[in-house]
Every structure is written in C-alpha cells, then in structure tokens.
Amino acid sequence: MSENNGSIRHILIGVWTAAVLLFVFLPSATIFLASMTSSRYFTFPISSFGLDWWSKILNSLEVRSLAYTSLSIALSVTIIAVVLGFFGALAFARYDWKGRKLYQKFILLPIFFPQSVLGLALLLWFNALGFTLSWKTAVLAHLVWIAPVVTLVMAIQVYSFDPSLEEAATDLGASRWQTFREVTLPVLMPGIFSGSLFAFLLSWGNFPLSLYTTGADNTLPKYLYAKMVAGYTPGVPVLGTISTAAAAVLLFGGYTAMLFLTRKRNAAA
C-alpha cells in the first residue's frame, strides 16, 4: 500500500516537474519551430518545413552588423561592470565604513526601477548633456542597471570570503598589492566569473534600455521588436533562436568550464 503511494507520489512529482519545464521552455521552443518554415508568413501548424530563412539570415550583412553592435555593447558592459562591481562588492560586503548601510540600499535600487522609465530618463539626460546617441551611450545606460546587479552577484561571493585570509597573507610578508594578486583576486574568481556572465547576458538580451539609448545604432533585441511591429518575416524567429541559443551556449559553456577547473584543482592530489 505504502509502496503504491510512493510510486504515485513519484509519478506526480514527475508530472509536475515536466509541466513546469514545459511552461518555462515551450515559448522558446515555439520560436525555434516558427523559424523552420519555408513560407512567407507564420502559420500554425506549419505547412512546409525548410531552412530557407536560416540561410537568408545567416548570410545577411544587416544581421551581422546587428550582432556586432550587440556584442560590442555586451562586452564593454561586461568589462566595466565587472571592475565596478568587484570593488563595489568589496565595499558592499567586505569593508566596514561609514554610510555602508545606506550604500547597500541605494546601489540595489536601480535593479527594481522599471527599465522603460529608466531608459527614458537616461535619454533625457543624454540629450541635456549633448551626447550623440550611439551604442556607446547604450553602454552607459546598461551599466546603470547592470552594474548594481553584478555588484550584488559578486557581493554574495565576497560575504563568504574570510577576511583573515588577507591578514594571513599580510602577516606572511605580502604587500597590499601582493595580497590582492595572490589571495583576494583568485579567491573571489568564481564571483567575478558569474558576475561577468550576468553582465554579458543581461546586456545581450536587453531591450528597454537599448530602445531609448542606442540612437542610430541597432541591437538584436531592438531589431526583433521593430520587425515584429512592422515587416514580420520568419527571419525574426530565426534571429530570436540564434540570440537565445547564444546565451544558452555561453551559460552552459561557462558553467562547464568552471566545473572543469574546480575538478582539475581538486584532482591535483
């Protein structure tokens, strides 16, 4: 009887898990399916499958330039956000100073601002300051939102950092710089790593901030939106699929690399 109950419970857990996964991943899968059509419009069910739109998109110069712009923004944001976030996280979680509590609250606030409002506000500022809008202003805009996120992600790692490690290094004769290079930086490396993944992926997929602040330059999410509003082709889901897949590959690749490095380090025994 109880064994029976157990197996029913297992089945129910399985069904529930599958339902949740379906709910989360089905939309993205649909995009992929929609890209596999050879007709001009999106119809469901798909009448004729084909990869025509994939080859069109992959060979399009416009798409390459879009990807290039998105990549430039994401990489710039990643580098700057990681540097800001690293020191921000040390200030957030490692050192005690006057005003730290206030800083902890204020630095997290932008994460919860509606991004469309934040984008508009930044646009107003850029105009007021006389900046010409381009992908570079978008980098600034992304940073306002992403640097706090990265700070938070890294602060989690810094919280678990034993401050006596730095003291021990100093006590063993290391200068400030040597302590930083030999101990602080490598111990916090996993946090830096996940922080950069966050920065890159959040910037890569960001639409609301880019919409207001890229000016004449165009990013992938912005282009997708424009095409949806006017001029839909199955090229849109193709691009959407590529964009999502790139993020997934980066995430899994990064995770695997991290796992590999940890294993290698531990297996050195």
Binding site: D162, S164, L165, E167, A168, A169, T170, D171, L172, G173, A174, S175, Q178, E182, V183, P186, V187, M189, R265, N266, A268, A269
Partner: protein, 357 residues
C-alpha cells in the same frame, strides 16, 4: 615578571581603546627568548585584541611594544619578523598544501626548487604525508589543516610565533595530540611561542608561563604551577577549575571567620590584608574525617551526590546552603551512602586567602 632568559618582547603600558571601551588596559609584560607563553582569559577579556596588536594587525592606542628593544608599534604586520597561526587557520583555499606552506618564501622571491625543498622538510617534521604536497588544502582533515597552518608559519622563519586559539574547534582527542606536538615543535625549533586560549587545560599542558587576562587587564602572570596553587584572586582560582571558595572576614592573626557558615578557620600565616577576602580550598585537599581532630579545620555536612571524573571521584557535600566539592582517587573511594552525615576538613597550609575579585 621577567622570563627565564633575555626578553625578546616587552610591553609597556599597552592600551587599546575602541570608543570609550578599553579592550586592552595598561598591560606590562616581558616575554623571554624561546619561551612558550600563554595568555588565558574568557571571551571578551581582550586577549585576541592583545595578540593582534603584537602581530601588527591592530595599533595600540597608547603604550609601547618592543621587539628586542626596538619599538614596533607602527611597523605593519608584513614588515614584522613575526607570524601568526589564526583561529580560522586562514589557509588559502585556492592553493595546494605545498603552495600554502611556500607562500612566505614565494613572497620573498625564493626560487621554486628551494621553496619545495623547505616545504617538504616542514611537512616531514609535522607528520604530513609527502604526497599531500600537491593536494588541495580544502580536502585536508581538521588535524592536517592545523599542521599545514603551522608549517606555513614556520616556513616564514619568524622570531616569534603567535597562536590565536587555533585548537578551539578541534575535538578533544585530536586536540590533546596536537597540544603535545606543538610543545615538541616548540622544543625542536627553540622559537618563542605566544599562545592565546580560553582553555586553562590547554595552557597548563603546553606553557612555560601563563598570563591570566580579565576585562582587558593582565591580572596574574606565573608558571602553570604558580597560577594553579597560588592564585591571587577568586577569579583566577575559579578559572583554574573546580574550587571551594568561602567568603571570609579577617578574625585576628592566622584566623578568618565565615558569616554564612558561622565558623572560623585557621589560615596560612602569609595572607593578604585589606580588601574583601575569600578562602580557597581545592577539592583534592578536602578530606573526609572520622573525627574533628583529624584536621585543623572541619565542617559537618551531608553527602549529597557523587560524580565519576575518570581517575578521580568528586563528592558534593552540603554544609547548610553551601555545597563543598571533595575529590578522591578512584582507587580510594569514600565509603558512605548518599544523605549520610559526614565530616570534612583541611589543613591551613592547603588553603589560600585570595582577593574577592
């Protein structure tokens, strides 16, 4: 208060205040070259602040710290020829055992071959298996990590080694082993060790001298035997384990009186004057008597309970409101039943008068 040899470290009126609170208050101390000196105190007594000042991680508010007669108050930790084993051990988790031990040598740009040779020597000396050299330090057991931390500090070749309660998180049996090993290492290296702990037992096992700290002050310094047998205050005597403490008043020469017990006791001649006093008698010096004339001081009570403490048995005897502890060797137990009326007593030379503080 000087050590057995030339002092290597001297503290003059050292004080450290955090706001209005003096964590360390007016400490004067000399520690001898090659001495194993232990500072004992309960948590919050200021011992950690003191050792952090000695190691260079805190700066004294006032007073002087002298290392071989050179003032080192303002010398940062990385320029002091001393090294500390931390309570958390602070081993570098991203490094192997070998890399941890070699850290100080790497900082000094010693070539890798010499570094490895030295690390392997230390590993052998500290009973670490040779194949641990390239093992990640996070995979080592508690005892192994202790040894790595000690090896890392020894590789620095410090003039003084500080220890900030490194054994406090280790289970009893392993701690006993490591205490003995540490004392052996002290002998082998001949270095000066300054150790802090809240465990008197630990201090007794290892130290040449012990300093007892309370509320930022060093209240007594002496050999383990002196601290144990001639404590100067009630606090020190109670810190050193189970004792019988009787608040008393002076009652003329060689005699004191306890109000609560309604009895007078003979005390040793050299006793303190002034302040409120307590008479301290250790449980092993209390005896069961068959008649009051068997000892110079005696009390009548009721046998209340008994506890087996390994090699000894401890008896609780109630005299009025007060409970006295009497200890006997396991081989010679007291033959009596609970609730029996018993007579206990001691001789004056086995008791001491201490300040009631």
């Amino acid at each position: 208060m000087t050590g057995t040899s030339e002092p290597i470290l001297r503290l003059k009126n050292v004080r450290k205040a955090f706001g209005n609170l003096a964590a360390v208050d007016d400490i004067n101390l000399s520690i001898g070259e090659g001495e194993f000196f232990t500072i004992v105190g309960p948590s919050g007594s200021g011992k950690t602040t003191l050792i952090r000042m000695l190691a260079g991680m805190e700066r004294p508010t006032s007073g002087d710290i002298l290392l071989r007669d050179k003032r080192i108050n303002d010398t940062p930790a990385n320029e002091r020829p001393t090294c500390m084993v931390f309570q958390s051990l602070a081993l570098f988790p991203h490094r192997t055992v070998g890399q941890n031990i070699e850290f100080a040598l790497k900082i000094r740009n010693v070539d890798p071959a010499t570094r490895e040779k030295r690390a392997r020597e230390l590993m052998q000396q500290l009973h670490l298996p040779a194949d641990y050299y390239s093992k990640n330090v996070t995979l080592c057991s508690g005892g192994e990590r202790q040894r790595v931390a000690l090896a890392r500090a020894l590789a620095f070749d410090p003039q003084i080694l500080f220890f900030d309660e490194p054994l406090s998180a280790i289970d009893y049996k392993l701690r006993k082993t490591l205490e003995k090993e540490l004392k052996d290492i002290h002998r082998e290296t001949g270095k000066t060790f300054v150790y802090i702990t809240h465990s008197l037992e630990e201090a007794m096992v290892m130290s040449d001298r012990i300093g007892v700290m309370r509320r930022g002050k060093l209240i007594q310094v002496g050999s383990p035997n002196e601290i144990y047998s001639t404590p100067r205050s009630r606090f020190v005597s109670e810190f050193m384990g189970d004792v019988n403490v009787i608040p008393v008043e002076s009652n003329g020469a060689g005699s004191v009186r306890s109000q609560s017990l309604g009895a007078s006791f003979k005390v040793p001649p050299a006793s303190i004057e002034g302040k409120a006093q307590c008479l301290v008698v250790r449980p092993e010096f209390l005896r069961f008597l068959s008649s009051p004339s068997d000892a110079q001081n005696s009390l009548k009570g009721v046998l209340y309970n008994e506890y087996a403490l390994g090699s000894r048995i401890q008896y609780q005897v109630r005299v009025g409101e007060k409970v006295f502890l009497v200890e006997k060797l396991r081989q010679q137990p007291f033959k009596g039943s609970l609730d029996d009326e018993v007579l206990i007593g001691w001789d004056p030379e086995n008791s001491i008068l201490v300040a009631d503080e």
